[in-house]
């Protein structure tokens, strides 16, 4: 690349950090909420829960 490579690489790094960070944060929040639902037995549809009880 050219003498502007530092700007190009920094731009792609910024994109990776922000969008990658958002993806990781979204996935970890998803897993955390799913674990809480499982712990409370709310992870199955209402009909299945009613049948189980």
């Amino acid at each position: 690349m050219s003498d502007h490579a530092v700007f190009i690489l920094a731009a792609y790094l910024v994109g990776l950090v922000i969008l990658g960070g958002l993806t990781i944060a979204s996935l970890s929040a998803r897993l955390k909420v799913r674990r809480e639902l499982e712990a409370r037995g709310l992870d199955r549809p209402r009909e299945q829960r009613a049948r189980a009880t």
Binding site: S2, F7, I8, I18
Partner: protein, 238 residues
């Protein structure tokens, strides 16, 4: 519209999203790998801007998605206020941080592109300032939706902000025509057709498609999380 109405039920939406997410994630990763190859290796340097044109493949799709994301917030705001759409508030909560991140990527990559091209990281030019305002509108939406103890009040206040702030979208789009700006005028979505050579236009459109896939993926994933979070809150309150 019937499809959207079908998805208005959060439980039905959740089932749809759980089926769609794995395929969507795979398509996004594959499209991103191809897009990065096209953007960093295959596409030629621009005859005026040289290699720095490669920043455009991140900057422009981020700007498009940030604006489209805000239009989505406004549509969801209208759906919440007018029709009390059960999913609209949850999806708006999910979409606002995604749109804010795309706006931030647009601002930062634009700044890194501006330094070698304009000799400065920032100018208070109409396009840059209106884009910064869009980022602040996103932050306002996120803050407002979480500012009340009653989540419904927060969602309604954020919906009003989304509807008022939508006026900023045409300002961003036409700022380069209405005012004398340092930012270049539109070169893709313009009346005379794109002013970019296909060797650069195709990777740009590919990356825009990839970012759209990523946007949809993140919004679906986060909406699912919001639905489950609301279920937990209801279970705790009961």
């Amino acid at each position: 519209m019937p499809g959207l109405h079908f998805l208005a039920n959060p439980a039905r939406f959740r089932r749809f999203s759980q089926r769609a997410l794995p395929g969507l994630a795979l398509a996004t990763v594959l499209a991103l790998l191809v897009g990065l190859y096209m953007a960093l290796i295959q596409s030629p340097p621009d005859y005026q801007q040289g290699e720095t044109v490669r920043i455009m493949f991140l900057h422009v799709p981020s700007a498009w998605l940030a604006m489209a994301g805000y239009a989505l917030l406004a549509a969801l705001g209208a759906a919440l206020l007018v029709w009390r759409h059960p999913l609209a508030a949850l999806m708006a909560r999910a979409a606002a941080p995604v749109g804010a991140c795309f706006a931030l990527v647009c601002l930062l990559t634009g700044s890194l592109w501006g330094r070698p091209m304009w000799g400065t990281y920032w100018v208070w030019d109409a396009r840059l300032t209106s884009m910064l305002l869009l980022f602040f509108l996103y932050l306002g939406h996120i803050a407002l939706s979480r500012a009340y103890d009653d989540p419904d009040r927060g969602d309604r206040a954020a919906a009003i902000l989304a509807l008022v702030g939508v006026i900023n979208l045409p300002i961003i789009k036409f700022s380069v025509d209405w005012w004398n700006t340092l930012h270049q005028p539109a070169s893709v979505a313009r009346l005379g057709g794109p002013a970019i050579h296909p060797t650069i236009l195709i990777p740009l459109l590919w990356m825009a498609g990839t970012f759209l896939l990523l946007f949809i993926l993140l919004v679906l994933l986060r909406t699912e999380t919001e639905i489950d979070r609301r279920r937990l809150e209801i279970a705790e309150a009961a």
